[in-house]
């Protein structure tokens, strides 16, 4: 599985932004994961605890915001949520939809302390 590579990417981005901000410590990390994104969440915290050791982000808590999937029918333009992976428009019955939301996998924000012992 590729959680390790994913976690490493998160750490690289976090440390870069924390450094730019002159932060002394990173306490919280906010990640958005779309419902259709295949990347998992729980194990990322597990890897995090290992790979962030010795950095200013050691011990930071990861928070995951789940973004629900939203599809738009390409025939009647109805917007709908795909229940149980069913990809048929509930209004007109057509297959074929554009994904409007649910593929996100991004770092949204970090919480940092900008002074020692604050």
């Amino acid at each position: 599985m590729h959680e390790l590579a994913v976690t490493q990417s998160v750490l690289d981005i976090v440390l870069r932004h924390a450094k730019d901000a002159g932060a002394k410590r990173v306490t919280d990390i906010h990640i958005a994961i779309g419902e259709l994104s295949t990347n998992v969440d729980d194990s990322v915290q597990f890897y995090w605890d290992i790979i962030a050791k010795g950095t200013i982000a050691e011990g930071a808590k990861l928070h995951f915001r789940r973004v629900p999937a939203e599809l738009q029918c390409m025939a009647c333009f109805e917007k709908y949520h795909p229940d149980d992976g069913e990809l048929v428009c509930p209004k007109c019955g057509s297959v074929g939809a554009k994904i409007i939301a649910g593929e996100e996998f991004s770092l949204e924000a970090i919480d940092v302390e900008d002074q020692e012992n604050s």
């Binding site: 990417s9 901000a21 295949t38 990809l87 939809a97 924000a109």
Partner: protein, 218 residues
Amino acid sequence: MTQRIPIVENILSANDRLAEENRARIESAGVFSVNLMASPGAGKTSIIEQTLSRLADKLRVAVVDGDIATSLDADRAAAAGAQASIQINTGGECHLDAVMLQGALNQLDLSKFDLLIVENVGNLVCPADFRLGTHKSVLIASTPEGDDKPYKYPGMYRGVDALVVNKIDLLPYLDFKMDYFQRGVEALNPGVVTFPVSCRTGEGLDAWTNWLAQNVKR
């Protein structure tokens, strides 16, 4: 004092940037490139062998093979007429990423080739998340896997530019419903170009190799 810093950055952006570098490099050499993805046993290596037997006298083909271990697939590609075949052993990783492809490109003189075929690790989940920088992503499905695969692996099916359906010679012996399969494909990836083929009988393979050849700039 605690302070929140908004970021909004794609977590795989580092890979995406490297993929763009790979693309620029392949593009500037005038090479057309494909990333072949499939589950284990769908016939990626057999498709490559059949492709080489049809194209190796017309085009100069390089094959990059990703596997968790062994160089069996790269050896098969070399035996089938690839002018270069490079094995990437991912050491347990479930997919190729842009860094690994970059390492393989460093071993190739791209100016000596027309077509670059990258064979990804057999897996319907992870390779879909990591762009490599190739021109086209191609999924090789096979009939024994079952007709429900588009529904179970939507991330893979919706992200590809072409679909090869291998082992169609087995259709009389399987409960594979082509209508149901194609309905799933059409829902996820409307109008995707599809090649039903059999590596065993050769059926449909000319259409596939013609598509590849047409994409190569001469």
